[in-house]
Amino acid sequence: MNTETEAGTTDRGTTAPSSSINPESVRTVAKKDFQDSVRSWLFWGLSVFFFTLLVATTGAVSYFGEDLAAQGATTDVLVGFVSEITRLVIPLIALVLGWKAIAGERESGSIKILLSLPHSRKDVLLGKLLGRSAVLSLSLTLGFVLAAAVVAALLGGFDVVDYVGLLAVSIVYGIAYTSIAVSLSSLTRSTTIAGAAMFGVFVLFYVVWNTLSDMFMLLAERDVLFFDTVTATTEFDGEEVAIERLPEWAYFIVNLDPGEAYGRVLTLVTDVDTIELQAELDAELFGGELPFFLQDWFALLILVFWVVVPIAVALYRFDRVDL
């Protein structure tokens, strides 16, 4: 009954050829995933929390900030405020929305339904990313429109272009975190591990990265290891002023944070003084000319990097595992 082991046995180990991508298939998976996750209560709970926060804050700003309105600066303040909230909340929503994307399906076995049908594993990953990004975008758009309606009702109008710019960048920012979440979710079969990974990402970017700058400075002042400060001279009120700052590579690392990039990209699409001011201050540190990696267009690249790289790693690896 058994044929000889040698003949006809091609041992290719556990490696497998990489699967193909079929756009039609990706669309089908995305549509199903959208239908499925748009019905998640946890997601909408978080979104409602986010809307409420957004609407309450923007309402408060536009109601109490009548002086600002008079100066025509309301949209600036509004965008500034909103972006601070969204910078913190969007990653949270994206991570919650994405953490079970693949791990959950592998744990429960529903991925067998997906992959019994003619979809490749790459189709599934991309479909998931697309579907969840669509759900997140829907939620953000709803939240922004609601907040805008409240503000418009109170103020009778504001700068729509800035606001739409903020929404657009927020969506890209959200997709970056969705990509991180979906990709991490594909690396494990356990939702517990996936959840821990999401928490890790949260801690990494909210806690670790946010203190990096201070930490580098602390180390640099004490000349620990290779840490050192650079003295930059700049003109201030007609006088030469020397400022201690970190070397450029430290700025580069600090700026890899998607949240940091989000803030910088906003200068590209909006015209908000507070954000512009920050950029100018930074420029002073570098003698008036920002290094390329601190410029707006590079921040956009960083955001795109966070969309592309996690999913690319996942696409490569997910093809090579046993489900």
Binding site: T5, T14, K32, P118
Partner: protein, 306 residues
Amino acid sequence: MPAITVDGLTKSYGETLALEDLSFQVEDGEVFGFLGPNGAGKSTTINVLLDFVRPTAGRVEVLGLDAQTHSREIRSRTGVLPEGYRTYDRLTARQHLEFAIDSKGVDDDPERLLERVDLADAIDKKAGGYSKGMAQRLMLAMALVGEPDLLILDEPSTGLDPNGAREMREIVREESERGATVFFSSHIMEQVEAVCDRVGILRDGEMVAVDSVAGLRESVSDGTVLRVTVDRLDEDAIGSVRSLPDVSEVLVEEETPPTLAIRVEGSKTDVLAALEDQGLEVRDFSTSEASLEDVFQSYTTEVDAR
């Protein structure tokens, strides 16, 4: 061209060897029962056919295509009822079927498919509220989408009541008549007996027998078992029966009432005559063929030292 060719398939998970040098073929158009106790490696085999897991060694072809390099094409022509799946709780039966229909790029009618599996009433109910049996019917309907050339059904009777299991077998028959090949796994012999052309029995990751149901029965039953109830037990009498040329085995099955189990190839009357010659009174006797369950048992449990 065979519908499935498995050649020298070995799969190990770390230290654990799930399949060892497994080889078999499923012919085009046949209903093949893939039988084995739980943990024998049935699901692992099916997972390799569908490229859910990758073989450690060996070659697997489905519909004449390599199971790994052409998995998408294979799955576009295959309907699958997987084992250990979970439906999408928040989606209705209709949405599940629309997803399968879209995925396969066909235009089947969800309602008609659900009628076939007797689930049309629940078409717009969310699958989260389904019983195991209803979920199983939904999955069977999804497997039927697009008139697949091959149906892979992994433990399809799980969660079905006897009536549901009968309907499921009916569908297997219809699909087979349409020309589809059916690969049907189960750990219960009687479920495959009624529908399968051939049966393969898997034990500890190895195929221990492949044959028609009748052939399997024949290979196991070396004769008929004759049970004789007598008035008393007598060593000499047992000895003389044992010495008959057609008798291969004599066991004392019970003491009260004294009953002998005699495996006999030829004439049963010779046996009875021999007993009576020794002065025993035959009070009752019966004969039995090896049951299918016996066949299965004999292949899937270690040979016991009788």
